[in-house]
Each structure stands twice: as C-alpha cells, then as structure tokens.
C-alpha cells in the first residue's frame, strides 16, 4: 500500500505497542543541549542507568552561551554551572560533546545538519521544540521534554502515538523579496498557530522542490509555531548533494547505498493524506508579525486586523496583542520604528541567511538609534562567513558580529531587549517576554527584512525600499 514518508519512517522504527496503548519508537539520533538535559542525566545517575546508545547521542551548548565574551568561567555563574554539568555528563556517559573548543559548537539544529548527522529516513529527538528543523532532510524529528530525554538516553526509544499527515503544497513562483521565512509565516498565518495540532506537515510543491536545504530548514523549523510537532520535506537530489562529504554522512559505496534507501523512504506518489492544502506562491508577500504569537502576521504593507472586524471568539486575543504591542487595528506595520535588529537563530542563522542580509547592508549604515547584532548559527557558519568577509560587511555597517549561539532568540544569555524596546528579529517566536524583557516587543521577519529595517531604522518593504533615500525624506 502507498505510504507517506511519515508512515514509512514510523513503521520502520516502531518496536512494539506498549501496554499503555502507545507505540515504542526507536530513535536514530538524539541531540542534547544544556537546558533540557541536566535533570534527565541526574535521573539516570539516581536510577543507575547508562546512556544506551552513546554513539547515537551528540551534545552541544547553545541556549545560554554568551556571544560576546566567551572566556571561561562565564560571568553568569548559572550559565557556567549548566555548562560544566553538561561537560561532566558527556564525559561520564561517553557522549560526543561539540563544545566551544571543538570548532563544531553551535545551535543544535544547525550543527546536526552541517555535520551530516541528520539524514533522511531517520527518527530524531531533541529536548527542544525546533527539532522539527531536521525534517528538511526527510527525517521524522520530535521536540521532546526532559522526561522523554531521560527515556531516550536510557532506552534509545520513546513512547508516543502516531500523527496524521497534512501535505502543504506551495506552487508557482515566489515574488522577488519573498523568502522561505515569508512562506512559513504565511502558512502559519493561514492555518493558525494550532492548525497543525495532531499533524505532521509534509511540505511540497514546486517552490519547495526548488528550495535549498537551508530554505527547507527554515520552513520545517517553524512547523511547531503552526502547532505541528513535525514538519518534513521528502528527500531528493538537493538533500543528497548537501549530505555528500559531510563528516558523519556515509562514504564511498555506502553513500550510494544510502541514497537508494533514502529515496525509498520518500512518500509514494499515490500516498493518501489526511489533508491537503495548496498555496499559490504569488500570494505571499514579505511577511511580518505584529502580535504576540507567530500566527499574528500580515504582509508588510497590509493592514492590521481591527478587533471589531474579526469573529467574536478571536476578539479578545487580537485586542490583547494590539494593546501589548501598542498598535492600532487598521494600521500598517510598515513604518514601525525599531530599536533593535537581531539576525540569527535556528530559523535564520545559517550562511545563506547571513549572505542575504549582508547584500542589503553592504555599504549602508545602521540607523543611529538602532542596536544591531548578527549571531551566526554555529562556529562553522561563523568561519565560513568570515572567509567571505561577511563579518566585515556587517561591522562596517554598524552591526555587532558575535560568536555562535541562540542569543536574543530567547535571551537566556546577556543579549536581551530592555523595557519596551521593539526588535526586528529573524527568529521564530514573538511571545510576550520572549526576548528577555517582559514588556519587550518582537517583530518576526526574514533576515533581509531585518537588515533593511536596521538600516532604515523602521520596518520597510524591501520590494520598494531604496536604501539611498533616507526614510521619511
């Protein structure tokens, strides 16, 4: 019978049905970071368990690393103790740790793919909701909580129930100035932040087929913002070309064998889906969030909803968001003055993102009132960008060029908004307080749009913006 990739991977990894009715699923790759793992390792010690498959477990440090001064011990003592806890846990349990000294440290969802650890047909788990990113390779990748991290460490399996599959096809041509980030913001705006609950999202269509792996990762990354725990793209030649020669990818004849198996795991052409959504690429504009969840977005020159114009059930949510953001219903987000610009995160902190942003800022200056930082997604991304001179382009324009980490995506390190500051951000969440100030405000957009906003000092439409004409002149 024809099956989707999700069903094939599920069937291949299902050990048995547990007495609790859920499925015991084998996990092919377990990625670990410092925030959600210490309690899990502590329980392993308490119960006298080992890490069952240390060779399938990899750790890095990303959430709490300072991105300015990285000398140890860190100034933040709690960050230091979380780091040393992970060091000790990796040492004691035999887990490979991509630490700061390794040259391979970075955001967990950036280093898995860049090392070739993330491969098609795998099951992947990580104590982080953006694990969905790895689905870009045709893997089934679950964000899990700490108790499940413990289960995967101890058993290399976890207990869960299957999902339905929704195929989301994006067809046609994206308009100039429209990026993968806009595509996923558009999808979330369309289907809602809970539209994906109970589903895995399969992204397809000729736009997705033409996308690079970096772009596919941006899309899959934000599946969780649409309520879908998992998002994936069927593996194809683009996937295989990306993986070839990566450190952990199969080598030589094994690579060809792997390609055959990977190809066999893709959804069958006649597979049945629980739902299909079709989107015309031409309908997608550079998209910006205006509210306090990633579904509250609008085309950059569209108008914000008015509470009185929406369904009664949605009114309170819209009013709360408008009030928190100090926006009026009916206004445009274009022209909103910003205080901070952040380029980075597992959504948009890869080399291609930095290249797009650098194109915009080259020869420009960040507006005098804007604090702007670029945080590469990994040490390898940083090195590659520096080799191309991107760090200099950013520095010349007045951006701070930082070391790799999550940084202002969730502000667990010293990079934070202050007070009511508004941040144009290439990250994935605009929740209240997300960027470190309980009253701070976040506008999510593509890295190119962030770069333009940094220069203009306000949100602009990159399709029409001319950097040489001062805004407001």
């Amino acid at each position: 019978m024809a099956r989707t990739l999700f069903q094939k991977v599920w069937d291949t990894h299902a050990v048995r049905t547990l007495p609790n009715g859920q499925t015991q699923l084998y996990i092919g790759l377990h990625l670990v970071h410092e925030v959600t793992s210490p309690q899990a390792f502590a329980e392993l010690r308490e119960r006298g368990w080992t890490v069952r498959a240390p060779q399938r477990t990899f750790a890095t440090i990303d959430h709490i690393v300072p991105t300015a001064a990285q000398a140890r011990p860190f100034a933040d003592l709690m960050a230091e103790s979380m780091t040393s806890a992970l060091e000790r846990n990796c040492r004691d349990f035999g887990v490979r740790f991509f630490d700061l000294a390794s040259g391979g440290q970075g955001i967990v969802h950036v280093i898995g793919p860049e090392n070739g650890l993330t491969q098609p047909g795998m099951t992947i788990a990580c104590g982080d909701s953006h694990t969905s990113t790895h689905g870009a390779f045709g893997a089934i990748a679950f964000g899990i909580g700490t108790s499940q991290v413990r289960d995967v460490l101890a058993t290399q399996t976890m207990s869960l129930s299957p999902l339905k599959v929704r195929r989301i096809e994006v067809n046609g041509r994206l308009r100039p100035g429209v990026y993968a980030k806009d595509v996923i913001l558009h999808i979330i705006g369309l289907l809602g932040v809970k539209g994906g609950t109970g589903y895995a999202y399969e992204y397809a269509g000729d736009v997705v087929d033409r996308m690079t792996m970096d772009e596919r990762m941006t899309i899959c990354n934000m599946s969780i913002e649409g309520g879908a725990r998992i998002g994936y793209v069927n593996p194809d030649q683009t996937t295989f070309d990306f993986l070839r020669d990566r450190p952990y990818a199969p080598k030589g004849a094994d690579f060809d064998t792997a390609v055959t198996w990977w190809t066999s795991m893709a959804s069958d052409p006649d597979a049945a889906y629980d739902d299909v959504v079709r989107i015309d690429a031409a309908d997608i504009a550079p998209t910006v969030t205006w509210g306090i969840n990633p579904g509250q977005s609008v085309g950059v020159n569209g108008r914000l909803p008015r509470p009185e114009d929406v369904a009664p059930g949605d009114r309170a949510g819209i009013s709360e968001a408008l009030e928190f953001m100090s926006f009026e219903g009916g206004q445009r987000v274009e022209g909103t003055k910003i205080d901070v610009a952040f380029i980075g995160s597992c959504t948009n902190g890869r080399l291609s993102d930095l290249r797009e942003a650098a194109k915009i800022v080259k020869g420009q200056k960040v507006a005098a009132h804007v604090r702007a930082i670029v945080v590469p997604g990994s040490q390898k991304v940083a090195v590659a960008a520096e080799k191309e001179g991107l760090d200099q382009v950013f520095a010349d324009a007045g951006f701070e060029w930082r070391r790799a980490g999550c940084s202002m995506c969730l502000a667990m390190n010293p990079d934070k908004l202050v007070g009511r500051e508004i941040c144009a951000s290439s990250s994935n969440r605009n929740f209240k307080g997300r960027q470190g100030s309980p009253t701070g405000r976040t506008l999510l957009m593509s890295p190119a749009m962030v770069a333009a906003a940094a220069v203009a000092g306000e949100v602009v439409d990159i399709r029409t913006w001319d950097a040489h004409v001062p805004v407001g002149a």
Binding site: T12, H13, V15, R16, L18, P19, N20, G21, Q22, Q24, G28, V35, T36, Q39, A53, D76, M78, S81, M82, G121, G127, S129, T131, G143, I144, G145, T146, S147, Q148, R150, A154, T155, T157, S159, S161, V193, K194, T197, G227, R229, A253, D254, T257, A258, T260, W261, N293, A316, G317, E320, A411, M412, R429, F431, K432, G433, R434, G436, P438, T439
Partner: protein, 204 residues
C-alpha cells in the same frame, strides 16, 4: 508505578487562548539544573503585568490559593518543549489541567510527569471558568476513569485520548520501565536499520 485516578480541589481559571510556555515559565527561570523552586515563578511575567495594571493574576489571588485544577483556553501550552512548564504548574499544586485544547508537546510532557490533561468544549469551558471565578472555593473533581469533571453539582464529560487515560489509571505514564521491558526487541529493530547497523548490509 503510581496510578492516577483523579484530581480534586478548587479550580483556578487562566483566561485566554494560546497561553504559551514562555508565559507559563519565562526562559530566565530555565537557568537551573533541577526543577526545584519553579513553582515560585509560574506565570511570573503575567502576574507582574497584571500588578502593573492594578489587577490580580489568578495565581496571585489569595482566593485561589491551593487550587488543584487549572482551567485553560485553546492551545494551552503552545511554544517550547520545556518540561519546566508543566513542572512549574504541578509543583505549584495543580493536579490536573482542563482546557479547550492543548499544544501537543505540552500535553505529552504533562503525561510524562503525571499531570492529567483533559479537554472540554469552548462553551463548557466558558461556564466552568465563570463558576470558578465566582466561587473560588467550589469543589472540582476530575474523575479519570469516568471521564467527568464535577463542579459543585454539575457533572461535565471530558475528553482524553484512550491511551492517556489508561496510562494514568495503570501507572504506565511513567513509561521508562515499559520501554526497558523486552529490550531484546529494541536491539533486533536497531540491527535492521541500515544507518545503525551499517550500510554494507543493504548492499550485500
């Protein structure tokens, strides 16, 4: 394995849909290597925001102190996979969350720590929240086997996936021991996966 059959006590309503995990427990409180003390910071920024507006967040309201059942809207717990969120709620004293709907990872994380989650319709939730707001000392009882929520003299059916109900009732929510049972089956499966056991086995 401890069996969980019910949760009983006063209810506290957290109004609004899409209550995300950054609101339940802001990221700065994740800087810890244990879950101890998280209960002190549950909904911290929302509580501060309420205070700044001269309002009282339900988790600060003395009338709701000691509540055992949290009532929530749609998509409760959306956002990150931080187990710190259900941990903070549970450690505050909540034994069950009844909402219109849940974000998936939050729902799974709650089950993993024995925090029962059940859903009711939006209309029923509006009634339940009004009841809890008006009578903070009204007794609520979630009966997992019967799939009902009793609020004073009202009995409302709740929805819970069958696997979750049986996991709570049997004690199988703490799944690690189930996963370790018959471990040879896991090893047999791993040996069949080419990326685990070696690609050359496929080409042979």
């Amino acid at each position: 394995m401890s069996k969980i059959e019910s949760a009983q006590g006063h209810a506290v309503a957290v109004h609004g849909d899409d209550i995300d995990t950054d609101r339940i427990i802001p990221a700065r409180f994740l800087k810890t290597i244990t879950f101890d003390g998280l209960e002190d910071h549950v909904f911290e920024d929302d509580r501060l925001e309420a205070q700044a507006h001269g309002k009282v967040h339900p988790f600060d309201d003395p009338a709701h102190k000691g509540a055992a059942i949290l009532l929530g809207g749609a998509n409760f717990g959306c956002g990150s996979s931080r187990e710190h969120a259900p941990q903070a709620i549970k450690r505050w004293g909540i034994g069950a969350v009844v909402a219109v709907s849940f974000a998936e990872i939050f729902f799974g994380n709650s089950l993993m720590i024995g925090l029962a989650c059940a859903t009711v319709s939006p209309e029923q939730m509006a009634d339940l929240m009004a009841l809890a707001d008006a009578n903070p000392t009204l007794d609520f009882r979630l009966d997992i086997a019967a799939s009902t929520l009793t609020a004073g003299d009202r009995v409302i059916p709740v929805t819970m996936p069958e696997s979750v109900r049986s996991a709570l009732l049997s004690g199988g929510w703490d799944a690690t021991s189930l996963l370790l049972d018959k471990y040879e089956e896991v090893e047999q499966l791993a040996a069949r996966l080419p990326y685990v056991s070696g690609w050359d086995r496929l080409s042979a």
